[in-house]
Amino acid sequence: MYGKRVKLRFFFISTLILTFILIIYLLLEAFEKEVVYFLSPTDIKNMSEIDSKKIRVGGMVKNGSISTETDKINFIITDFKNEIIVTYSGAVPNLFMEEKGVVAEGYLKDKNFFIAKKILAKHDENYMPPEVKEAIEDY
C-alpha cells in the first residue's frame, strides 16, 4: 500500500524512538538515587553507613511530636514504619503542621537524629473548602 521509502522512514523513526526510550530508561535507573527528592525514615534505617553529605528526609510529621524551645523546634518524621527525630532552628512554612507531609534538608547526626537546615512543607493532593473538612471530621 505504501511505498518502500515510507516503510523505511517508519522503521528508521521507530528505531530512533526505541533507542532513545532505552537510553532514558537506563539513565533514570542508574541515577535513581539522584532522581528521588527525599529519603524516608526507613531508607535512613537501611543505610549501611551515615555519610556527612547534605540529604533530605521526608514523611509525615508525627501527631503530637512538635515541641518548640526558645530558638529551636523539634519534631518527629514518620513513614508509619520508622521514625526520625528532627531538630531545626528557623522559620517554618505555613503548611508545616502535625499529620502533614514535610521534607527536611540537612545532616544526619545518627540514624535517629537529624539536624535540619531547611524545612519544606509537602502538601497532599486533597483540596476542599474548610466547611467540608469540618463535616468530614465531625462525621
Binding site: 530512533l16 527528592y37 505555613n94 503548611l95 519544606l120 497532599d124 493532593e125 483540596y127
Partner: protein, 235 residues
C-alpha cells in the same frame, strides 16, 4: 488521506472560526475568573493561595497536551511527507511554550507560600523544565534552518524525541518521591478535589484551551497566507 491539503479551502474555514473563537474565549475566561476568584471557596489548609491552581493546572495540562499533539503529528508528517501537519505543529508551538512557562512560573509563586521554596530539583519540576527546553529547541529549529525541508525534519525529530518526556512528567510524582504532590484528578481512582473547586478548574481549562486555539489559528492562518502569496494553491 494523509496527503490531502488545500490551503484555500482550509483558510476559508479557519479564518471564520478565528473570529468566533475570540468572543467565546473572552466569555469563558470571564466566567472562569469569576468562578475562580469570587465564587470558589478557600482551601481548608492553603486558604486563598489555592486559587493559583486555576492558572497553574490548566497551563500544565495544555502544555503537555499541545506537545503530545505536535509530536504525534510530527511523526506522521515525517513518515508520510504530509504538507499540512508541519504547519499545524509550527503554529501550535508558541501557545505550548507559553503555557509551559506559565506553569513553571505560577508553580514557583505557589511553591513559596506552601512548600517554603521557590524552586526544588525534584523529578516533576525538573522534567517540566526539560519540556520548556524541548519547546525552545523545537521553535529554534524552525528559525535556524532556512531550508524548509531540513527545518521540518529536524524540528520533527526534536518533537518526537521530546514525547518520551511527557509520561515522565505525568508519572514522576508516582514513580519517585517528589516534593510535588501526586495527581488530584484521576480517571481510575477517586478525584481528591472538592466539586466546588473542580468547576472553576474545568472552566479555566476550557478558557485556556480556547486561548491556545486562538493563537494557533492566528499563526496557522498566517502560514496559509504565506503559501497563498507564493501562488501555490496546491502543494
Amino acid at each position: 488521506m494523509f496527503n490531502y491539503f488545500e490551503p484555500n479551502k482550509i483558510f476559508s474555514i479557519t479564518s471564520k472560526v478565528q473570529k468566533y473563537t475570540i468572543y467565546i474565549f473572552i466569555i469563558v475566561l470571564c466566567i472562569g475568573l469569576f468562578e475562580a476568584i469570587i465564587l470558589s471557596p478557600k482551601d481548608y489548609i492553603q486558604s486563598d493561595s489555592v486559587r493559583i491552581m486555576y492558572v497553574h493546572v490548566p497551563s500544565a495540562w495544555l502544555s503537555l497536551g499541545i506537545f503530545t499533539v505536535i509530536s504525534i503529528l510530527s511523526f506522521f508528517s515525517l513518515i508520510f511527507k504530509n504538507k499540512n501537519f508541519p504547519l499545524i505543529c509550527k503554529s501550535l508551538a508558541p501557545s505550548g511554550i507559553l503555557f509551559s512557562i506559565i506553569a513553571l512560573v505560577t508553580g514557583s509563586i505557589w511553591g513559596k507560600p506552601t512548600w517554603g521554596t521557590w524552586w526544588a530539583w525534584d523529578a516533576r519540576i525538573t522534567s517540566m523544565l526539560v519540556l520548556v527546553l524541548f519547546y525552545i529547541m523545537y521553535i529554534l529549529a524552525w528559525k535556524i534552518f532556512s531550508e524548509k525541508e531540513k527545518a521540518n525534519k529536524i524540528s520533527s525529530i526534536i518533537a518526537i524525541l521530546g514525547l518520551i518526556n511527557i509520561p515522565i512528567i505525568k508519572f514522576s510524582v508516582d514513580w519517585w518521591s517528589t516534593l510535588h504532590q501526586p495527581a488530584s484528578i484521576n480517571i481510575l481512582s477517586k478525584t481528591t478535589i472538592h466539586s466546588s473547586m473542580l468547576i472553576p478548574l474545568t472552566i479555566m481549562t476550557a478558557a485556556f484551551a480556547l486561548f491556545a486555539l486562538l493563537i494557533f489559528l492566528m499563526k496557522y492562518n498566517t502560514e496559509l497566507i504565506k503559501i497563498k502569496n507564493k501562488g501555490l494553491d496546491r502543494l
